[in-house]
């Protein structure tokens, strides 16, 4: 029998003041998902040490201060909106849907992309998903929160938001359940709540790990409270695995449904440019593309700054960039069919609007979309460029902008050329439109940064299974002929 550890520090198993860091590594497409040498103990210590740091990294403050300032701008914009009404926005006849709707759709796509990585690729047992799962999940959570801000603001009379709920009332009125706009309300709030539950359940075992590594009383209490007494007993693991798997199996169709319903918001209207059966899958393709882009944009700096190079490897970049390219091709098909159905179909108003979209007042928006969402991602065909983090970051940033432009194109250019030429007009966002958009960006990034600071940013319990499998494979290879 070996010694029983007596001091707390030795019981924890690691010296947290000197966190173990992975070595710097360049990207290579043939990298394994996980470099050998990462053990369940060292991995747990490194990830916990990030969450338990006494002081935040300097770069963290450099990023967090402007982001929280932007979040404050969001609060100010919302308060002023509630005071003055939606007249402070650029929306007016004929463009009655503006930044609120297009930014909402943009955020939902970003959130959905996170869910696709964390839920869909969980179901297909993709090993590369393990180390970026928490980043994708956090992106889902804060993306859904940023999207969730908009529908209430867009109502115009936000104090009547409760009319959307099911409830018996003295007016004997019920909501119009046949409207896609109401479907969208329920899809969004289901998605927001379900993503919180999914995120938290996957986090509980990791919070327990942080609780057990914490050395200060306050952190032990706080992490202990949120870990809810998870100790890794057989019962806790067994039910956790079963529940988490079924939750992932529910989240996957929910995420496809929400973005399809968002597409139906448009397709359900007899508006020029919207009335198309293509919209629901087309919107889901957009969600895929923006999801992969944002995950890459988050992973590139985090991998380097937190020294996770042995857990987030060239293999991850290779897979994510290939998926980015694939979803870009899906989207290109959508754009192509949009042109084809318009010019093959005989509707004059559709053709007038589309020609205007291609060459009219908003031509930069359309061609910007094509450039950023279709042309630039073609660089990902090249292996060398997939491993170049600057090129990948530039392409992803382009996609993020391109996806926003795509929504601008769908919402604004369709509305600015309605059937009746006497109603034609143009639209621009006002200061308050832009401040709300930037504010939600700040809120999203602040949320991600807080998650990076206080939450284990890699799903440790899933990594332990992956490490176990890798070690078993290495042992089998070592013994082999």
């Amino acid at each position: 029998m070996s010694d029983i550890p007596t001091s707390r520090a030795s019981a924890i198993g690691a010296d947290l003041s000197a966190p173990l860091r992975g070595e710097r590594r360049a990207l290579h497409p043939d990298d394994p998902v996980l470099f050998p040498g990462v053990t369940i103990g060292s991995m747990t210590d490194r990830i916990c040490a990030i969450a338990l740091r006494e002081r935040a990294f300097i770069w963290w403050w450099v990023a967090f201060v402007p982001c929280s300032a932007l979040s404050l701008l969001l609060v100010i914009s919302i308060l002023y909106l509630f005071y003055a009404g939606i007249g402070i926005w650029g929306v007016d006849w004929p463009v009655m849907w503006g930044f609120a709707i297009l930014s909402y759709v943009w955020w939902i796509a970003i959130a959905s992309g996170g869910t696709i990585i964390s839920a869909l690729f969980f179901l297909v047992r993709a090993e590369w998903r393990t180390s970026i799962n928490r980043v994708a999940d956090s992106m889902m959570l804060f993306g859904a929160a940023a999207a969730g801000v908009y529908p209430i603001l867009h109502l115009g009379r936000p104090w009547f938001a409760y009319w959307l709920f099911f409830y018996p009332n003295t007016m004997t009125l019920w909501a119009q359940f046949r409207s896609p706009l109401l479907w969208d309300f329920w899809a969004l709030y289901t998605y927001v709540l379900a993503s919180v539950l999914f995120w938290y359940l996957g986090l509980v075992p990791d919070l327990a790990s942080v609780r057990d590594r914490a050395t200060s009383r306050a952190k032990q209490v706080i992490y202990g409270f949120f870990a809810l007494g998870f100790r890794g007993s057989r019962r806790q693991w067994k039910h956790l695995q079963a529940t988490y798997a079924i939750m992932a199996a529910i989240m996957a169709p929910v995420v496809v449904s929400i973005h399809s319903v968002v597409g139906l918001d448009f397709a359900g209207g007899a508006t020029v440019g919207w009335h198309s059966t293509e919209f629901p899958p087309f919107f889901v393709f957009g969600a895929l593309l923006s999801g992969f882009a944002i995950v890459l944009l988050l992973v590139i700096p985090l991998r380097r700054l937190l020294r996770l190079e042995d857990m987030i490897t060239g293999r991850h970049f290779d897979v994510l960039c290939k998926l980015l390219l694939t979803s870009s091709l899906f989207l290109a098909y959508g754009y192509l069919m949009d042109v084809f159905t318009t010019y093959y179909g005989g509707d004059r108003a559709e053709r007038v609007m589309f020609t205007e979209r291609l060459f009219g007042y908003y031509w930069t928006v359309y061609w910007g979309t094509i450039l950023f969402n279709v042309a630039l991602p073609q660089l990902m065909w090249f292996r060398r460029l997939r491993m170049n983090q600057i090129v990948v970051a530039a392409v992803c940033l382009g996609v993020v902008v391109g996806m926003w432009l795509e929504r601008y194109e769908i919402v604004v250019t369709s509305l600015h050329r309605p059937h009746l030429p006497s109603s034609w007009g143009v639209y621009h966002g006002t200061f308050w439109d832009w401040s709300t958009l930037l504010g939600t960006v700040g809120m999203f990034l602040s949320g991600i940064l807080l998650a990076v600071r206080y939450v284990p940013i890699i799903a440790m319990h899933e990594m332990r299974s992956l490490i176990g499998r890798s070690e078993a494979r290495a042992a089998a290879a070592g013994r082999g002929p």
Binding site: S7, L201, D212, R213, G232, L240, Q241, T243, H461, R464
Partner: protein, 167 residues
């Protein structure tokens, strides 16, 4: 009631200890491990619960919408039937999925009797490594003889740590 907690360096060593304990018929045996011992998580009633609650949620909200649109507040939209059931499917699906998620989430904590912020086993210093890299087994019993017996059996397996706790 008291107990003994033994930690092992590897999963294989823990499994060997479990086999030994099963042969010696000591008190109740519980494992605490850094990752799941049973990789596939079979035998949980929660998936069935989620399915049933999800289905009930789907049907419940579907019927609620049918009631609202057919009886409580019929509204003629372009001459379409009052029971326009396909248009009730999206909301019923979403809320059914939400019911299933909530059933899984809250059902999990109920079935595991969580939150349980303190457990006597937490008093063992070595226990903190259960969430890192040591594979623990705890034996609890009212009979001090049995605990001593379990301690002896576990000690023979050369565990990384061996501690007693009072519960």
């Amino acid at each position: 009631m008291s107990g003994v907690l033994a930690g092992f360096e590897t999963e294989a060593a823990l499994r060997a200890a479990l086999d030994r304990l099963a042969a010696t018929h000591v008190g109740s045996v519980e494992t605490y491990t850094p990752k799941a011992l049973d990789e596939e998580g079979t035998g949980s009633p929660l998936p069935l619960l989620m399915f049933v609650v999800g289905l009930l949620g789907f049907l419940g909200f579907f019927l609620l919408m049918a009631y609202a649109d057919v009886w409580a507040y019929p509204l003629n939209v372009g001459g379409r039937p009052k029971l326009a059931w396909p248009s009730f499917v999206p909301i019923a699906f979403e809320l059914g999925a939400l019911c299933a998620m909530a059933a899984g989430f809250f059902g999990y904590f109920l079935i595991c009797r969580m939150p349980r912020l303190h457990d006597p086993v937490d008093e063992c210093d070595s226990f903190r490594r259960a969430s890192r890299d040591i594979w623990f087994v705890a034996v609890r019993s009212d009979d001090p003889q049995r605990v001593a017996h379990a301690r002896e059996a576990l000690g023979a397996l050369r565990p990384a740590s061996l501690e007693e706790f009072a519960s």
